[in-house]
Structure formats: structure tokens, C-alpha cells
Amino acid sequence: MSEISPALHRPLPAAAATAPGRRRRGRLGVEIRQHASARLQAAALAGGLAAGIACACAILVGAGVGLADLAQEFVVSILTSPESLAAVLIQAAPLAIVGLGAAFAFRVRFWNIGLEGQMIIGAVLATAVSLADLGPEPVRLILMACAAALGGAAWMLAPVLLRLRIRLNEIISTLLLNYVALNLLLHLLYGPWRDPATSFPNSALFDASERLAEIGWQNLNWGLPLALALVLAGAWLVGGSRVGFLMRVAGDNPRMGRALGLPMTGTVLAATLLSGALAGMAGFVICAGAEHRLTQSFATGYGFSGILIAFLARNTPLGVLVAASLVGVLFVAGQSLQVFYQIPGSAVQLIQAVIVLCVAASDFFVRHRLRWIA
């Protein structure tokens, strides 16, 4: 490289993207912002969300839904009709649990992209308990929940051990295991577990004692209180416990943690296994709470939604609750758009992706300062 020396003494243009103008009109400069106030961060998040929602509206209007109909489906009906509100809350419960799971993994810088696979294995083990009628009936549901948590954690075990032992990239390993889990699910549903009553490819209906009971308002079931309890426990774990502190060290500066003699490996292991267990629980809540059986596609889309929820919530448990409710609205509104306006379900996924990308882009303004340089 022969050009090195003269270029070194050139005055630094501030951003690679802005070419210095011939006529001295000034240009837009980019600086790294050292400290961003909480207000600025909130404003950027709100701006990113607004931009994402605007893009989403544009997409849906382009697909043939009127603006007034959008307002009706997304806002009015959910605020005015208790049935819709209940549908959103039922939807939000597993979303909050899977989002909490994603948040725990992300807190220790472990990219768990395998939430869907962990949900599937959790639900498969819970269904196995139901089909085998394990244990006495009064505790069957608890057994199913434990089996689901164990299954989710077990599905996480290989990726985390491989990452810790041989530094195998967890993004790819967790993602590949999603496909393995899905194939296992299809094998069970098209093979030994096919519903004998209808011969459809889903499991037999759970008995009444194997379903999450309704709590008495609309058709809400115990999934929501369970999600709330898990989120509160998660908030305590993150904010009020030694484990939460260790997770913060493992996420921000694991080398320092190791130098201080803190159990960094154990922390990563605990946080990721917890992440898998929570994903398994989310699978259980969908199957035992809403579907009452194991179906082929019960987990489809939840993996990405969990990542989105954790990302929007900045990995905070209470933020997960808020983000899960918003995504719940999107899911429910998406279902009625599908029925009444023939908008395919993939639109919901597209909207979530657009929102993620807009919010991620808005972070630029948190970390950088734009200035007009004359």
C-alpha cells in the first residue's frame, strides 16, 4: 500500500458517508456522544417506535387496509371491547415469558436465537407428561410445567456448553437446533402422537386437569398470573440479587469478573439455562392455556417476537411486560386483519422486523451527535 503516508496528514473529514463538498458550504459532521441522558434515550426509543409504526401503517395501507380500519383494529376495539382486551392479554402471557427468556440470555451476551426450539421441546415434554398420565391428577399440571422448563433448559445445554468449551458460535448452534426440534415435533405429530380421535396431525386434547384453568374474567387463564409472577421474580433476580449483579458483570466485562474471581462461567450457564427454561415454559403456557393440545405451528414466530421484546425492553423484566403487551396487540390485530382483510400472517412478522430495525437505527442518535460544520 503505497498511499499510506500522505493520507495520514490529511484533515479528518468527520463521517465516511459525507463527501467533502467542493464549494465550502459546510457539511454534516458525526461525533461520538460520550454520555446520553435518560431523556434523550427515551426520545430516541419513542422516535424509532414512531418511525417503525409509521412504516408498518404504510405497509398495511399499501396492502389494502384503510387507515380508519387500522385505528379500529389496533386501538379502538382493544380499548372498548373486553373480549379483545382478554385476547391481547392471553396472547401477551407467553410472549412476556419468552421475552423474559430472551432478556436473560442477552444480559450475559449470549445470542439465544433458539427460543422456538426450546419452546417446542418444552411443550413436547409437557405433552409427554399429559399423554402418559404421569403423577396424580392434582399435581399433573405442575409436573407438566416442570417438564417444560426442564426440556427448554436441556435444549439449551448443548449450545451453551459448546460455546463455553470450544467457543462455538451460539447464534448458529441455537438456530440450527430450532430446525431439529421442529422436525422432532413433526415426527411426533405425524407419527406416534397423532390424535386418535380425529387423525389430524396434532396431539390428543389435554384432560381438564391438564389445562390452565380460567381465572373468571372473560376467558383469561392462569397463564397471565404465571407470566406476571415470572416477570416479577425476574425483576428481583436482575435488580435485587447477587445473581443479577453477576449477570451484569458477565455481560459488561467478563474478563474483569474472572480476574476478580467471580464465577463467570457459572453465571453464563445459569442465565442461559434459565433462558431456555423460560422459553420451555412459554411453550407450556400456549399448549396448556390456549390450544389445549400440541399443534404443529404453535411456536411459529414466537422466537423472533421474544428477541424483539427483549430488545425493545432493553433486557429489563418490567420493560418486557410492556413490550409483550404491545406485541400482543399486534398479534391479535394481525389475526383479525387476516380474517377480515385477507392480509397474510407474514405481515405481522414484517411489521415486527420493521419496528426492530427502526428502533435499532434510532440508537444511532443516542450514540452519536450530528453537527453542522460550517
Binding site: 500500500m1 465516511a16 458517508a17 436465537i113 462455538l168 440450527l176 414484517l350 422486523a353
Partner: protein, 311 residues
């Protein structure tokens, strides 16, 4: 019987290997410039849909369809580059977001345009006259479509550009030491935008080949994780083009074997066979990670945004 099985299998390998090969090569180009591209699956999907869309909309011209597929991949990559190069978004988040964006977008467009489950003619095999009729060699070597035969020259070209040309030197400099490359007057932004667009065009082409050359139909999410397998292949290849081609052939052989196992009357549950590509990828990754010491050309600035003010 065994010979028939082997010939049948080996003859199918190239068609299955090409999507992996082109996608892995595209990713390799992108990653050589220091951009971690988890969006491969997304580039493949838009390529696959664009290929089918071009054929259904413009008539049965496979060449135009493949060009449309490459263009679609490159177009989507501009959004990705805008995010990770200009706005310095975390490359993992942007890549994942892009995959889901492409899944949603292709699902929506494919359904609203009515392109789902409409069989097309697609690519046909070239004929080499008497050569194609040879007993064993004919089906294995001389009965493939043009893309199969073009893949090897494309690899040679890419390997030469990356390893021997000035552009390749600058590209690798941007991926290995962006600060030094910047000081030497190489435009980091331009190099990364360009490399990502070129690589994404190859990944899009791989997707287009999948729909126009192999499946000859559009099915939602039809890339089925091949983009992720290609990402693993690049790691397995230690960022060396020819090793990526070898890995692609290995995975093409595995994928070509799957439908033939059942056809040969071997009783293995279908969905367990379906797990094989993913488990094989995992196995290959484990093998790569445990074998330390061999030369890896992993770009040192892979996944890091370049901010000149940050030094």
C-alpha cells in the same frame, strides 16, 4: 443396484451444492470486508421470490429470472448496509432483523401477488451431445444446467479478485484493519457497501437458483435454513473460497442423499432424515472449532462497525 444408486446420487449432487456454494461465496465476500452477514437467509428468500416473480411476470426466461434474483439480493443489501455501515447498528441485530424482514416481506408479496404454489418451467439441463449419453460419466458430469458449470469459474474469479487484485487487497484491508485502510485512503463505507451488495447478489442468485433451478415453485420460507448453513460453511472454510466450495459439495451430497435413502427402501423416519443437514452443520462446526492451529483467514474486524471518531 449399488452402481445405479451411486450414479443417481452423484448426478444430483451438483444441483444441490450450487445454492450452498454461491451463498457461501457471497457471504465470504461480505465478511472479508468486515461485515458480519447473518442476513443470508433473507437475501436468499428475496432472491428466490424475485426469480419466480420474474418468470411469472415476464415469461419463462431463466436468465432474466436469475438476474432479477441477484438484483433483489443486492437491493435488500443496501438497506442492510445503510443500517450497519452508515448508522452503525449492531450487526447481529440488523442481520436477524433483516432475515425476519425478508421472511415477512416475501410471505406478504408472494401471497398478495398470487405466486404461491405455481409451478414454472425453469432452468433446463445443457446437452453435450454424445457426452451426455455416456453411461456413468454422462449423468454425473454432462447433464447439468448452465449455472452448475458457471459456478466453478465464478469461484475462480472471486478467489482471484479477493486474493490477487487491488480491489481485493483493499477489501481485505477494510475487513482486517479498517483504521489502517482508512488512513491509507480507502473509503471504508464505499468498500463495505460495495462488498455487501456484490456478496448479497451472489446469495440472492443462490436463492433464485433454488426456486428457478431446483424447486421450480415458490413456497413460503423455502430456503429452509440454507442461508444459516452457508454461514456455518464460511466458518468451516476458514474464509477461504475453495474450501467453501468443498464444504458446499459436502452439503450438496448430504442433501442429495436424503430423498434417495427413502427411495432405496431404507426405513428411516422421514423427519429424522430431515434433521440431518442441520445436525451435520453442527457437527462440521464442532469439528472446525476443535481443530485449532490451522490457518484461518477470519477478518479481524468482522462484525465491528467502523467509526473514525472512535479511535
Amino acid at each position: 443396484m449399488l452402481i445405479d444408486f451411486l450414479v443417481n446420487w452423484l448426478a444430483a449432487v451438483p444441483e444441490f451444492a450450487v445454492p450452498f456454494a454461491l451463498a457461501a461465496l457471497g457471504l465470504l465476500v461480505i465478511e472479508k470486508a468486515g461485515v458480519l452477514s447473518l442476513g443470508a437467509e433473507g437475501f436468499m428468500l428475496v432472491g428466490a421470490l424475485a426469480g419466480i416473480g420474474a418468470i411469472l411476470g415476464l415469461g419463462d426466461h431463466p436468465a432474466i429470472a436469475l438476474a432479477a434474483a441477484a438484483a433483489a439480493g443486492a437491493a435488500l443489501s443496501l438497506l442492510f448496509s445503510l443500517l450497519v455501515v452508515t448508522l452503525r447498528v449492531n450487526q447481529v441485530i440488523a442481520g436477524l432483523g433483516l432475515v425476519f424482514l425478508a421472511q415477512g416481506l416475501t410471505g406478504l408479496v408472494g401471497t398478495t401477488q398470487g405466486w404461491v404454489n405455481r409451478p414454472i418451467g425453469g432452468l433446463s439441463a445443457l446437452s453435450f451431445g454424445p457426452l451426455s449419453e455416456l453411461p456413468v460419466v454422462g449423468p454425473i458430469l454432462f447433464r447439468h444446467d448452465a449455472v452448475v458449470y458457471l459456478t466453478v469459474p465464478v469461484f475462480a474469479l472471486a478467489a482471484w479478485i479477493l486474493g490477487r487484485s487491488m480491489v481485493g487487497l483493499r477489501l481485505r484491508a477494510v475487513g482486517d484493519g479498517p483504521d489502517a485502510a482508512d488512513a491509507a485512503g480507502v473509503s471504508i463505507g464505499l468498500m463495505r457497501f460495495g462488498a455487501t451488495a456484490a456478496g448479497a447478489a451472489l446469495v440472492g442468485l443462490a436463492g433464485g437458483y433454488l426456486s428457478v433451478g431446483i424447486a421450480r415453485i415458490w413456497i413460503e420460507g423455502m430456503s429452509g435454513g440454507r442461508g444459516w448453513i452457508a454461514i456455518a460453511l464460511v466458518i468451516f472454510a476458514r474464509w477461504q473460497p475453495w474450501r467453501a466450495l468443498a464444504g458446499a459439495v459436502l452439503f450438496g451430497a448430504i442433501e442429495a442423499l436424503i430423498p434417495r435413502v427413502a427411495a432405496a427402501g431404507i426405513q428411516v423416519p422421514q423427519y429424522f432424515v430431515g434433521m440431518i443437514p442441520y445436525l451435520a452443520t453442527l457437527g462440521v462446526m464442532i469439528w472446525t472449532c476443535t481443530r485449532s492451529g490451522s490457518r484461518s483467514l477470519e477478518p479481524r474486524a468482522l462484525g465491528l462497525a467502523h467509526a473514525r471518531e472512535d479511535r
